[in-house]
Symmetry: C2
Subunit: 418 residues, 2 copies
């Protein structure tokens, strides 16, 4: 068993100008890690011949596998393909199978005439192995140099993923003798990173060299990840379990899940297993909690729906919040969210409900109600819990924190069977 390393190069001026966020390389890194390949570094370069050439030089020198995405499209700013042809000393040739595939896409799926630009998608360097892109027109390409494999893929996420899942990852065990990397993560909420670190200090200091602990804080939660690397998978998993259970015990008061799942996935799992349902009434989060719940497949089993009462008149008319309440104590109040949560639960006939109302900023604050002030209510048939929060961040973060804290409050209610 040898440690095998990979580098990731993402190509495109849009990555350097910051107009798009690179989600491809984190997905690729995740997949490589699961396949037992350690990602050494990731690099983003522009549509610039010299920069790409230099990145290739250093990445190939340092790694056993180099993954490249971007710059394979049909437009003039996509320069990667001819560059790779030069770099690996090849000639561009027509790849008949790809041409047939592209032609078929235009004739039978897009039902549009094909133009010369599209035909060019089927031209590839004669020194590569073509990796079929059944999901698009730009094929993947595999090159080899100094015992390093270099794979170029289009930057369109679902096309890249298809090529990775079908033509790259299945070949890893045959290409490399990688050993095993095993990860376990747990999610905590309601405790800061440094206080958590203090709590688990003894365990952290006792970890053997081949097991690493990482802290991943996000939106009022901290995820702890243990990673172990070795050749004996069974022994490795046993060791990891041992330390992981120690962590779980120490963090038990704040433990949301010991699986690699999100807060909303925990809620979904709990409700699905209990055959229970949920509805939300959202003011300041504007549908974000409903979106978090419904973005995961299978959510229709437990999620009934939401009333997004953004305007006060909607709170009155659809959630029966008394006009009097809105005038006297206001929309951001204990009284308002209590009425919202109880009304939506009854209206949607769900077992549980969440309601939130707050001031997300930057506008909307008053002397008594600053930006970041939020009332959150959760309710079951038997009980209602209402809590005031104060977040101190920008709009996006305040919305995220409101959602996570509301879901965590509900989670506690569900596990306590209240």
């Amino acid at each position: 068993m040898e440690k095998k390393f990979a580098g990731i190069i993402t190509i495109g001026d849009e990555l350097l100008i910051g107009q798009v966020i690179d989600t491809n390389s984190s997905w690729m890194a995740q997949q490589l890690n699961q396949a037992g390949i350690l990602v050494n570094s990731r690099m983003a370069v522009g549509d610039n011949r010299e920069a790409i050439w230099k990145a290739l030089d250093s990445m190939i020198e340092e790694n056993d596998l180099v993954l490249i995405t971007g710059g394979l499209g049909p437009t003039a700013d996509d320069i990667t393909k001819p560059l790779l042809c030069d770099y690996f000393g090849g000639k561009m040739t027509m790849h008949q199978e790809t041409l047939d595939h592209v032609t078929n896409i235009f004739e039978h799926i897009l039902k549009r005439p094909m133009i010369e630009r599209n035909t060019l998608q089927a031209m590839v360097p004669d020194v590569c192995t073509v990796l079929k892109n059944e999901k698009g027109t730009a094929p993947g390409m595999l090159f080899e140099k100094n015992n390093t494999r270099i794979i170029a893929m289009p930057g369109v996420p679902h096309e890249m993923k298809w090529i990775m899942l079908n033509h790259v990852l299945p070949n890893i065990p045959e290409w490399y003798n990688t050993g095993y990397i095993v990860h376990k993560t747990l999610l905590t909420a309601g405790i800061g990173e440094s206080f958590l670190a203090e709590k688990i200090k003894d365990i952290e200091e006792s970890l053997p060299e081949y097991i690493k602990l990482a802290y991943l804080p996000n939106y009022g939660m901290v995820r702890l990840r243990l990673s172990a690397w070795g050749s004996d998978k069974i022994a490795l998993e046993k060791d990891l379990d041992n330390y992981f259970n120690q962590l779980k015990t120490k963090a038990s008061l704040y433990l949301v899940t010991d699986q690699d799942e999100t807060m909303e996935q925990v809620i979904g799992r709990l409700l699905t297993s209990r055959n229970q349902t949920l509805a939300t009434a959202e003011s300041c989060t504007g549908g974000y909690i409903a979106h978090l719940l419904s973005k995961h497949a299978g959510s229709s089993v437990f999620f009934k729906g939401s009333i997004v009462a953004y305007a006060n008149i909607i709170k009155e008319e659809l959630l029966d919040v008394p006009h009097e309440t809105l005038i006297t104590v206001g929309a951001v109040s204990k009284e308002t969210v209590t009425q919202m949560v109880q009304e939506v639960r009854v209206k949607m006939n769900s077992d549980y409900a969440i309601a939130v109302s707050g001031i997300m900023g930057p506008g909307g604050a008053t002397a008594e109600k600053p930006v970041g002030m939020v009332w959150i209510a959760v309710a079951s048939k038997a009980s209602t819990v209402v809590k005031e929060f104060h977040f101190r961040f920008d709009r996006e973060r305040n919305i995220g924190l409101t959602a996570i804290n509301a879901l965590n409050l509900l989670r506690q209610m569900i596990v306590d069977n209240r």
Copy 2:
């Protein structure tokens, strides 16, 4: 005027294992570009001494400015600070002003006892200039080497942003004579990248060397970005305007906006300027359209709310979709979305409404209704437009495409005054 270049290093094992998506570096790239500094490359490395050292060597050699985020936290896996101290040949010393600041945060804001780990946040290399982090406990640090400035900041996004906006970007004009980079972008919808490229081929070929065109496709839209670089800002802007107007004319049929704004921001601007309002009734998007609309500040002016009718019973009870309709033609049908859109518009008394119902996958498909089939309806007081779509992607992308196409259909209705 000289071209000045920057490199970005993000540090953290979580970036290489793919557990988090790096949004920091795209934000930093955006800010640097606006300040006239070209970003050469971005690199992500793990919490690994050798890898960070090597990244520093190559980034400092190639750039005038190097920004680093991550690895400054209080936990044992954060190794960046002592490493920087060694790299720049300094000694760790207590920075009194930072210590006072950290103490103050614990005493007056967190109201928790401070532990030794927190005190360590105030230790900095004596060869750096401290950049105050008013938003957190880990300070920023400015180093200089071979005429390159190196700035290390914490990885927590809102802390990094605060340091950038207050202690980095305002100093750029004094540090560098950068010249100007000017960008203009327009957003199109309803035309594929290669067909758009064909339409604007003549303009693209006529661009002078100092103006670059980029295609940024995303969720059924293509953004075109023109970038010009030079020393005479007024002449540059005039040139850019000229080419930009040519692009606008050629793409007019598909033009969503000639500003750097998103589809939902266009809707918000149109409705706000006309003093009109919007409501949504969402099934398959589960509140995502409401979230898109409400995540931007100022949305309460035009967005009244949403009924997320995820379960069919909610469509019946809250949106008066006849039980008969759901049984005969089903929830994913012209009849259902027509009723949903009209009902929510009346119920929320809004000028416009959007309704969507579809099968986002991976489950839920039938022989007649495949994954990706969606019905979208938009309505005003005067008219209703209903359209069937077929998307061919995964759940996340299908939800995004449904939202964008629904918003685009509404946009057309608004600009046509229907």
